[in-house]
């Protein structure tokens, strides 16, 4: 296949210029307060990537404390107190409170400020309108508001590190009563304290997601190009569609819970507080009558759909890349679509599997065990369809494809290790151990994050007109893949040996972590290699960062469809102008028409009309049917 044949994208170079004849926007309206979905997508993307880096850095600090508890952190340990306050790391040694802050904020930042903005908002914004052939989102101003709500929420979360007492320290789940009383009392401002700012920041993050979700769903329903029927939508669009519904319907209950916790902290109500609580040796004067379990229910009602918010966009990205690089239609498109819809529905009725320890009755737990197992069925269907899609393909191992293929087994490990957790008898033992940490990190770290990296490498040429460097992409990929596994695989074993997920000293002071050896090291001793792998993985991100910025200006220039893909975004110029398409696209066929028999190219774009000859050839020509 030579490059010249692939420039059939119905565009002539002068059309660019013609599009731009309307008045030019100033710098602020064009790049900062823009209503263009592509600019907003890129804003989200950069914000998300920065927060991922920040969240990861917090974790790298915690890994020092876990591996070498109580020892002074070399070099940066000296200047960290100047940033986070003298009480956080006196003499470079981490205090328990600071450790807890880092943990809570790592989770919060990674999920709500890293993955959601990147996976849902950034890719959704940039790619979805292009893939459905739309000029923009339906509500461009709401779109801008959604980004700025995220920005405010993120800023509040960041500010909370610097208030007296430091950032929130009750875990990303903020369980009450702990969260209701932390960061309160002498030395804390009644409003400007870690936990209260966490709650206020959250309200902004939720607002941002709700605005985004409304916009995405409306856009997908209303602005699909002519001929782009539901069953011709790229799978990525479907996954974003379901994700948007999850955000739309699962976030509000958490918002309600957050409002109530805010009332508990600021107005001293007792939504989540039973009577008779004693804090620091003194009974607290509250009305009581509240229920800590209520918080858990509301939190996990969001929490579980949220984990699918983290994974579905990655499914979508991986699907696009697998089809493109195996040069084959995605296997089982319809089952994929139905599976993702079923996941979306079921994810609302499994939440209590996070609460087996609360002693629910057998009938309730039987219900939730059943639904939890049911939801793994569509997940398995999706994963299997992806694997089968590779079968017999002529695979191109491009950098996005490396990440996408690595996603498959990594997600598989994460998903399969969830099954034991679905049975409450097994989970009573595994709950709150490193096993759970390993389970979900296999899904979100080498799973979702790999999907996101794949997406960045894949759509980078659309956003910039240039490709990221292949060699440095591989230098990024291999160490990251290896380190991920060195980090998370031992955690399953640590957890099964009984290591608790919130021990501040890495388990040093606990017998279970010192008695059992796993492959020659005790549970505690495993912390050090895990931490080293984490730090090396940190270094392995440097090639990515450099490659990313360097390629914006100096990457190899490519045409509008460098991957020889079929979906509509590749018919737009790279980067697409304001309004996206030179000619309003019309879709004539499904999203993955790769290797159609009897064609000279191995890909047929969605906007290529069906030729009369093709109609008579619905079935593959006789010479291709095995005897």
């Amino acid at each position: 296949m030579d490059a010249s044949t692939s420039v059939e994208t119905h565009q002539d170079p002068h059309a660019h210029a013609a599009e731009h004849e309307h008045h030019e926007l100033g710098f602020w309206r064009k790049y900062i307060f823009s209503t263009d979905h592509k600019v907003i997508g890129i804003q989200y993307g950069i914000t998300g990537l920065l927060f991922l880096l920040l969240g990861f850095s917090l974790m790298m600090l915690m890994r020092w404390q876990l591996a070498y508890p109580g020892q002074a952190l070399p070099v940066i340990g000296k200047w960290l107190p100047h940033i986070f306050g003298a009480g956080t790391m006196p003499d470079g040694k981490m205090t328990p409170d600071f450790y807890n802050s880092l943990g809570a904020m790592h989770g919060t930042i990674m999920i709500f400020l890293g993955v959601v903005p990147l996976a849902f908002a950034a890719f959704g914004n940039f790619v979805v309108p292009l893939q459905i052939g739309a000029p923009d989102m339906t509500f461009p101003k709401v779109n801008m508001a959604s980004y700025w709500a995220l920005f405010v929420g993120g800023s509040i979360m960041l500010t909370s590190f610097f208030v007296p007492g430091g950032a929130a320290k009750s875990g990303w789940t903020s369980y009450v009563p702990l969260a209701a009383f932390s960061d309160a009392g002498p030395g804390h401002n009644p409003v400007f304290n870690g936990q209260t700012l966490w709650l206020i920041g959250f309200i902004f993050l939720i607002t941002s997601s709700l605005l985004g979700a409304v916009n995405f769903i409306t856009t997908i329903i209303q602005l699909r190009a002519k001929g782009l029927t539901w069953m011709r939508l790229p799978f990525f669009v479907w996954s974003q569609f379901v994700t948007a519904f999850l955000l739309l319907l699962a976030f509000p209950p958490l918002e309600a819970a957050i409002i109530m916790q805010l009332m508990d902290r600021v107005a001293h109500t007792s939504f989540f507080l039973p009577a008779g609580l004693v804090v620091n040796g003194a009974p607290v004067s509250i009305s009581g009558g509240g229920s800590p379990l209520l918080w858990q229910h509301l939190f996990w009602f969001l929490g579980h759909p949220e984990v699918y918010v983290l994974i579905l966009p990655a499914f979508g990205i991986v699907a696009e890349i697998l089809a493109n690089n195996s040069r084959k239609p995605l296997w089982g498109y319809k089952s994929l679509v139905f599976s993702v819809l079923v996941i979306g529905f079921l994810s609302f009725i499994v939440w209590a599997h996070h609460m087996w320890m609360t002693g629910m009755g057998t009938a309730v737990s039987a219900f939730f065990q059943t639904t939890t197992l049911l939801i793994s069925i569509p997940s398995v269907i999706i994963l299997s369809a992806f694997f089968i899609s590779l079968w017999g393909g002529s695979i191109r191992f491009t950098v996005p494809m490396l990440f996408a293929t690595a996603f498959l087994p990594m997600f598989g490990i994460g998903g399969l290790t969830g099954i034991p957790l679905a049975f409450n008898s097994a989970d009573l033992y595994l709950h709150d151990t490193y096993y759970v940490i390993a389970h979900f990190h296999y899904i979100v770290a080498p799973g979702t994050i790999f999907g996101l990296f794949a997406g960045v490498y894949y759509w980078f040429p659309k956003a910039t007109g240039r490709k990221m460097n292949d060699f440095w992409g591989k230098v990024h990929f291999w160490p990251t893949l290896i380190c991920m596994n060195v980090i998370f695989l031992p955690m399953f074993l640590q957890g099964m040996a009984g290591m608790h997920r919130r021990w501040y000293d890495g388990g040093q002071g606990w017998n279970v972590s010192n008695e059992h050896t796993i492959w020659g090291l005790t549970g505690f001793q495993w912390n050090a290699p895990i931490s080293w792998a984490a730090w090396i993985m940190g270094l392995a991100q440097i090639p990515f960062i450099i490659n990313f910025f360097w390629s914006i200006k100096h990457g190899e220039k490519v045409n509008d469809n460098p991957w020889e893909a079929t979906t509509l975004e590749w018919t737009a110029p790279s980067p697409p102008p304001h309004g996206n398409f030179v000619h309003t696209p019309v879709a004539y066929r499904g999203p993955y028409e790769y290797s159609l028999p009897g064609r000279e190219r191995d890909y047929t774009m969605q906007n290529e009309p069906v030729e009369p000859a093709e109609r008579t050839r619905r079935k593959p020509p006789a010479e291709l049917v095995p005897a």
């Binding site: 989102m137 339906t138 209303q222 509000p252 309600a256 939504f271 009305s287 009558g289 209520l294 509301l298």
Partner: protein
């Protein structure tokens, strides 16, 4: 660049964009208030005997406010219909009526109902001192009848010193054995002039009727507060559509304004609907 289907409908879906948008938004609002109402039910089922108050809200005022919101729901539809018939003056008047209803509702809530609660006082009596205040609580009779005990004495706080509260009693506590007091009243009974002295060491907790008072008032203030914010939001949007800016939009594209009114009207109906749940849950049950 133009976004398609902002005003006209898309043929295959039969809808314009904002209409889908608002329905989705309302779906999320249902989940928000649904969660709050679920919390209310959860807390109420779990409440220890005697800790869930009854009959403390002013039912006639609540009924009046309910009527006002219902009227406003009608006027907003009439406003929209007037726009559809291109009768701007009529629209203007109906819109004004809608806005006024919203403002009256909020005024009643914020300037009358809430402050009245803030002035009311309640003292929860320690379990072992309940007998001492039997003449205000009437628990012996209630126990015989199989009713929940009373553990709180309410009224207006007259004065207090280091040792005691002096409370002008609510009728329930002034005449606790009267069967009339077993049920809440439609017309609120005024505070009596009977004064009770309550020793502070017998009191478990004493507060005004603030969110801190009980899980009941916590949910009452939170839910009505959030609902009030929604009413306020609706009123502000309506004011914008009623001001001259919107007249200019009307002159340019009347259908666009009509669509906007339709969308915000849907929101307004939803806000009314929430109140239709709030009213029985807090005032009547």
């Amino acid at each position: 660049m133009e976004i398609p289907y902002t005003i006209s409908t898309r043929p295959d879906t039969g809808l314009w964009n904002a209409k889908i948008g608002i329905w989705l938004f309302l779906a999320s609002e249902v989940m928000l208030f649904g969660a709050l109402f679920s919390a209310y039910i959860f807390l109420r089922i779990d409440a220890a005997p005697g800790t869930w108050p009854h009959g403390l809200l002013n039912v006639p005022v609540g009924t009046g406010n309910t009527a006002i919101l219902i009227v406003s729901s009608v006027t907003v539809v009439l406003a929209w219909a007037a726009l559809k018939m291109r009768r701007y003056r009529v629209y203007w008047w109906y819109m004004l009526a809608t806005i006024s209803c919203g403002v009256i509702f909020l005024t009643v809530k914020l300037a009358y109902e809430w402050p009245q609660k803030f002035e009311h006082f309640g003292a929860y009596i320690k379990p072992d001192a309940l007998g001492k205040y039997e003449k205000y609580l009437g628990n012996e009779r209630r126990a015989e009848k199989g009713m929940e005990p009373r553990i709180e004495i309410t009224g207006h706080l007259h004065s207090q010193n280091a040792k005691e509260y002096e409370v002008a009693l609510d009728p329930v506590n002034a005449d606790p054995d009267n069967p009339v007091m077993d049920r809440p009243h439609f017309l609120p009974l005024p505070v009596t002039d009977k004064i009770a002295t309550i020793e502070k060491e017998d009191v478990e907790r004493a507060t005004m009727f603030l969110p801190t008072h009980s899980a009941y008032f916590a949910s009452y203030f939170t839910i009505t507060g959030l609902h009030g914010l929604h009413v306020l939001g609706g009123v502000l949007v309506f004011i914008y559509m009623w001001l001259p800016v919107s007249k200019r939009l009307y002159q340019r594209n009347p259908e666009h304004l009509a669509n906007r009114v339709e969308v915000s009207g849907l929101f307004w109906h939803f806000v009314d609907l929430i109140w239709i749940f709030v009213f029985p849950l807090f005032y009547l049950l």
